[in-house]
């Protein structure tokens, strides 16, 4: 991305990683993407009682170009999916997606032809948040978990190593249909 990707692996790079992670997580600006009832809870999260500005994210940007985080709040219909993808593509990296509520995460109780069965069919999701709708505290909890992820993100050679490791782990992991637990 910038100079930080050209740093050699070592103490300097990990210091820059920590610093950059801290700065990125302290000002995650969400894009307004309320689709249904979860948006009400998202608004409550922005209001004075739950006060998202405590996490440095009080400004819900109407323009995706200024946003870092897309909170997909509500069920995504088949017709909305291309719009969602376009908004995601318009966001400048680094960017994150939080799938808020069961409908955005898997389709929830709307298991029908009109609703996308999980927004991860369209965009890569970083944090899944269950609840119907989740209370603002649950959203704050998800955002704190996202902060943790942002803080630990890697750069340059570290990132390449981490990606290679993740790919190897994914190749070795059992396929989803094999993750049966106790099922016969």
């Amino acid at each position: 991305m910038g100079f930080e990707d050209k740093l050699p692996s070592g103490v300097l790079l990990s210091t820059v990683e920590d610093l950059l992670g801290f700065m990125r997580k302290s000002s995650v600006w969400p894009a307004t993407f309320g689709l249904a009832c979860c948006a009400m809870e998202m608004m409550a999260f922005g209001g004075p009682r739950h006060d998202s500005s405590r996490f440095g994210m009080e400004v819900f940007r109407a323009s995706p170009r200024q946003a870092d985080l897309m909170i997909v709040a509500g069920r995504v219909s088949q017709k909305m999916a291309p719009v969602l993808r376009q908004i995601y593509d318009q966001m400048a990296g680094p960017k994150w997606v939080l799938s808020m509520g069961v409908c955005a995460s898997t389709g929830g109780m709307f298991n029908n032809y009109a609703i996308v069965q999980g927004v991860d069919h369209v965009v890569p999701v970083d944090v899944y948040l269950p609840g119907c709708p989740p209370r603002p505290e649950m959203l704050m909890d998800a955002i704190l978990k996202l902060h943790e992820q942002i803080q630990n993100e890697k750069l340059g050679p570290h990132r390449e190593n981490a990606e290679a490791e993740a790919e190897q782990a994914a190749l070795e992991a059992p396929a989803t249909h094999e993750m049966k637990g106790l099922l016969r």
Binding site: V102, Y128, L182
Partner: protein, 180 residues
């Protein structure tokens, strides 16, 4: 009041609010308590001796409007070479899964449960990074063992058959309360 003083009056509202009590909840440090009957994460309860209350009847799965619950029952057995006893009575829930990315926490499963095996806790911090980790298995949902409880499989300690358990005959002998 003259018209040019209107903006000043507006700032008066701001100024007055400085001295009001703050309504902001400091969530991660001081979480606001939820209502006592809040619908949070589920819990599979136990009898006072540690046997599971779930009988694997699948009524919760049938009641679920989002098809989030999957139950597979199996038979208890008291034979030494059998599968063991997990609940009083004939059957127990061998597989119990709740997909929290489908569950809308409506509580219809709780109403459907004939043995009060399934109840809800006040825990709501469920967010996670993968879909797979949000399918909670039986081991994630079972209530922790309290003092006096014993990990199943083991024979019925509080009576001769399941009626004794449901009528509460053995309540004096075990310890602990199964619900939060």
């Amino acid at each position: 009041m003259p018209k040019f003083l209107d903006p000043v009056a507006g700032f008066g509202v701001t100024f007055r609010n400085i001295f009001r009590k703050k309504v902001t909840e400091q969530y991660p440090e001081e979480p606001h308590p939820v209502a006592p009957r809040f619908h949070g994460r589920h819990q599979l309860n136990r009898h006072p001796d540690g046997l599971e209350k779930c009988i694997g009847c699948e009524l919760c799965a049938w009641a679920c409007p989002a098809d989030a619950i999957y139950v597979e029952g199996a038979s208890n057995s008291d034979d030494p070479d059998g599968g063991g006893r997990y609940s009083p009575g004939e059957r127990y829930g061998r597989v119990y899964q709740i997909n929290y990315l489908r569950c809308i926490l409506c509580g219809l499963c709780i109403e459907a449960c004939p043995t009060r095996a399934l109840t809800m806790t006040n825990e709501y911090e469920l967010a996670d990074h993968t879909r797979e980790s949000l399918i909670y298995e039986k081991k994630d949902l079972l209530a922790p063992l309290l003092p006096g409880m014993e990990e199943p499989p083991h024979p019925m300690r509080l009576g001769d058959d399941e009626r004794d358990y449901y009528l509460g005959a053995g309540l004096g002998r075990g310890a602990g309360e199964e619900e939060r």
